[in-house]
């Protein structure tokens, strides 16, 4: 059986790679973020190698006793992770370039929408339609009528009312 005790040097390498990666990830500039992500991913890949135990012989049938062979699975996984990371890194690079094309820099910008809403709430300037349910009691009361009231005057009843109607309007108002 191969030695499963983690190698201290490798563990330190993982720590340094991930540590510097996290530091860069906290930056605003996309290009630094990419370098950070790449460093962390490489750190994780080394971690994966530690997980497979110490190096052994090539894992080929017949090349030696199976107990002395290296574990091939972490290596296969690291390879997959490297390929995936390559693809994603190139995408972020393209995005950083596009951001530079559009804005002249590649810094990640804040979302302004939430800030706008917060500022508006501070000012107390809520949308005036917010609590408006589509009706206004005062206007409704003025418009409401029932049979106890006088028949209200409605202009434009029809052509047959003609001039008399105009007279009535004149007297009452």
């Amino acid at each position: 059986m191969i030695d499963m005790t983690p190698n201290v040097t490798l563990a330190i390498v993982v720590g340094v790679l991930v540590g510097t990666g996290v530091y860069l990830l906290l930056e605003r500039s996309l290009s630094r973020v990419i370098i950070g992500v790449t460093l962390i991913s490489n750190g994780v890949n080394v971690l994966m190698l530690i997980a497979g135990g110490a190096a052994g012989g090539p894992p080929l049938i017949g090349s030696g006793p199976p107990e002395d062979m290296a574990d091939p699975l972490p290596q296969a996984m690291v390879l997959t992770a490297i390929v995936i990371n390559l693809g994603l890194t190139s995408f972020v690079l393209a995005m950083a370039y596009r951001s530079w094309q559009l804005h002249g820099h590649d810094e990640v910008q804040d979302d302004l929408e939430d800030r706008r809403i917060a500022r508006r709430a501070e000012r107390g300037a809520v949308d005036k339609r917010d609590d408006d349910v589509g009706t206004n009691l005062a206007i409704e009361a003025a418009e409401a009528r029932d049979e106890t009231e006088e028949v209200p005057l409605v202009t434009g009843h029809g052509p047959q009312l003609g001039a008399e109607d105009d007279d009535v309007t004149g007297r009452r108002s």
């Binding site: 991913s41 994780v44 997980a51 699975l73 972490p74 994603l88 979302d111 939430d114």
Partner: protein, 512 residues
């Protein structure tokens, strides 16, 4: 019938290649995509029958037996997820095709839209079917890479801004997941889910807790669970309407699915149930309070999306059969309803020229069909009685009362409050956009009828879930029972005790 299992992954991938080859012929591309996703839908229907009657279906890829090779597993839970996601993917595709025809396909890089969309479908299916932790990671990466492209489609300034935040957060969650995978492999020497479920019981509880926390962090970012949810309402609303709709419906639910799988198969000692329940409570409340403050329909819907993830996490954290079953029901309901609402938001944007509630108005008079289309899924989301949202919430609240701990009761109360506030938020949106007069006259646009079709189908489906609520609950009950028993899954994968079907003698060590 296990040949059905890999098809939902393989068909979209092949179709993506074909669609890319046909990039100069948008019509052919569209036909390929529709055909591929219809086939996936048919396969998902087949799979749901097979798994329901014959138990979990397993394919050992390449004929290598389970812990050595990669297994694809379809059980009741993944079959249901596949079916719902296939329906949603197909409807959104039809919607975006109609939109493309209406816009004359100008200015939009449709040539890459269809292949990327199909790759996304393959990634989602792969994540649902994966029986191996590393394959689950690959599935996540496939769907994330596709989602990056879709989210930044066209590369406008606003999309690049929103996209860069989404991309960085997603990369971070993938890294966390990968670290968890490395540590799990170091601790147990396997990544096969079935074998892990046996081996994780034997390791030190402290180490197990660390592994669980690491995995949960990775998945919770993807599912947008509260302290890790801030990226979602920021990045989703800027994308094109169909893209937002499919992201909102599916991507967060893939995270929820992964959490369900992990909590029921890998870490069954319930060490983090209390933490999860707190997260659920806070997700619901913080999300819905955010939604109430918004005045843009798309952002409002994004916040309700975050908030309702809390319900599903609540169901998972209860860790009893009723809770799990209702959580699965709620996932199915929420995928359709949330997607329908985002599609409607896209229609509103076309009709009114904006999604800002300050500028919209009088749509009820101008577009009555649109008003109905918004009203039905909105009420469904809020959980108005005869609809499926109500059934899901009742199930969850019942399960919470069953457990009866004070935290569970508090979360039940938070759930009720969230439901009420959801109603308030959507009714406010309804009032402003449809009921009141517009502050300024809206442009005289017309929305193509063909875009209404898929939206209406999804909205109806959300209601239909209530009609078939009984059988659906029976199904999710059975799925939850399987998940809790674990044995159906493990026995299906590891047929010969510690090996699955296929070529691999027990030669040498047992670490792979």
């Amino acid at each position: 019938m296990n040949w059905l299992v890999p098809l939902p992954v393989v068909i979209p991938l092949i179709a993506a290649g074909l669609a890319l080859a046909m990039s100069r012929r948008p019509r052919v591309q569209g036909a390929i995509s529709v055909a591929a996703l219809s086939l996936v839908l048919a396969v998902a229907v087949g799979l749901i029958f097979v798994t329901h009657t014959q138990g979990p279906q397993v394919v050992n890829v390449g004929g290598w037996s389970a812990p050595v090779g990669i297994a694809l597993v379809g059980d009741r839970l993944s079959a249901l997820m596949l079916l719902v996601s296939a329906i949603v993917l197909l409807c959104v595709l039809l919607y975006s095709l109609a939109q493309g025809i209406a816009d004359g396909n100008e200015g939009a890089p449709v040539a890459i839209y269809h292949p990327t969309y199909l790759v996304l479908a393959a990634g989602v299916a792969n994540a649902f079917l994966s029986g191996d932790l590393f394959n689950l990671y690959v599935g996540f990466e496939i769907l994330l890479a596709a989602s990056f492209v879709l989210l930044t489609l066209g590369g406008t300034g606003e999309r690049i801004r929103a996209g860069s935040i989404y991309v960085i957060v997603s990369l971070l969650s993938s890294i966390l997941f990968l670290i968890a995978i490395a540590m799990i492999y170091a601790a147990t020497g396997t990544l096969n889910l079935a074998q892990l479920s046996e081996r994780l019981l034997d390791i030190d509880p402290g180490v197990r807790l660390v592994l669980q926390v690491m995995l949960l962090m990775g998945f919770a970012i993807k599912a947008a669970v509260f302290p890790l949810s801030a990226w979602l309402p920021d990045s989703y609303p800027t994308a094109p309407a169909p893209v937002t709709a499919v992201f909102a419906g599916l991507l967060t639910k893939v995270g929820v699915y992964a959490i369900i799988r992990m909590q029921t198969l890998l870490f069954t000692d319930g060490a983090l149930d209390t933490v999860l329940m707190w997260a659920a409570l806070l997700t619901m409340l913080v999300g819905i309070i955010g939604a109430v403050a918004q005045d843009d329909i798309k952002r409002l819907l994004s916040f309700t999306l975050v908030s309702h993830i809390g319900y599903m996490i609540f169901g998972i954290s209860l860790a009893n059969q009723t809770g799990l079953s209702s959580a699965i029901f709620y996932v199915a309901h929420h995928i359709t309803v949330q997607t329908a609402l985002f599609l409607v938001a896209g229609l509103i944007e076309r009709r009114g020229g904006t999604t800002s509630l300050e500028k919209l108005g009088s749509l009820g008079k101008l577009a009555p069909a649109l008003a109905i289309l918004f009203f039905v899924p909105a009420m469904n989301l809020a959980g108005i009685p005869p609809m499926s949202g109500f059934l899901g919430k009742v199930g969850l609240l019942q399960a919470g009362l069953e457990l009866g701990s004070s935290l569970a009761l508090a979360t039940v109360a938070a759930g009720l409050l969230t439901s009420l506030l959801t109603l308030y938020a959507v009714v406010k949106a309804w009032n402003k956009a449809f009921w009141q007069d517009a502050p300024e006259k809206l442009p005289n646009e017309s929305t193509p009828r063909s875009m209404f079709g898929p939206t209406a189908v999804l909205a109806t489906l959300g209601v239909l879930f209530a009609v078939i609520g009984g059988p659906l609950y029976n199904y999710t009950d059975a799925a939850a029972r399987d998940l809790q028993a674990q044995t159906p899954y493990i026995d299906a994968v590891l047929v010969h005790g510690d090996r699955g079907e296929g070529d691999s003698d027990a030669a040498g060590g047992d670490d792979g």
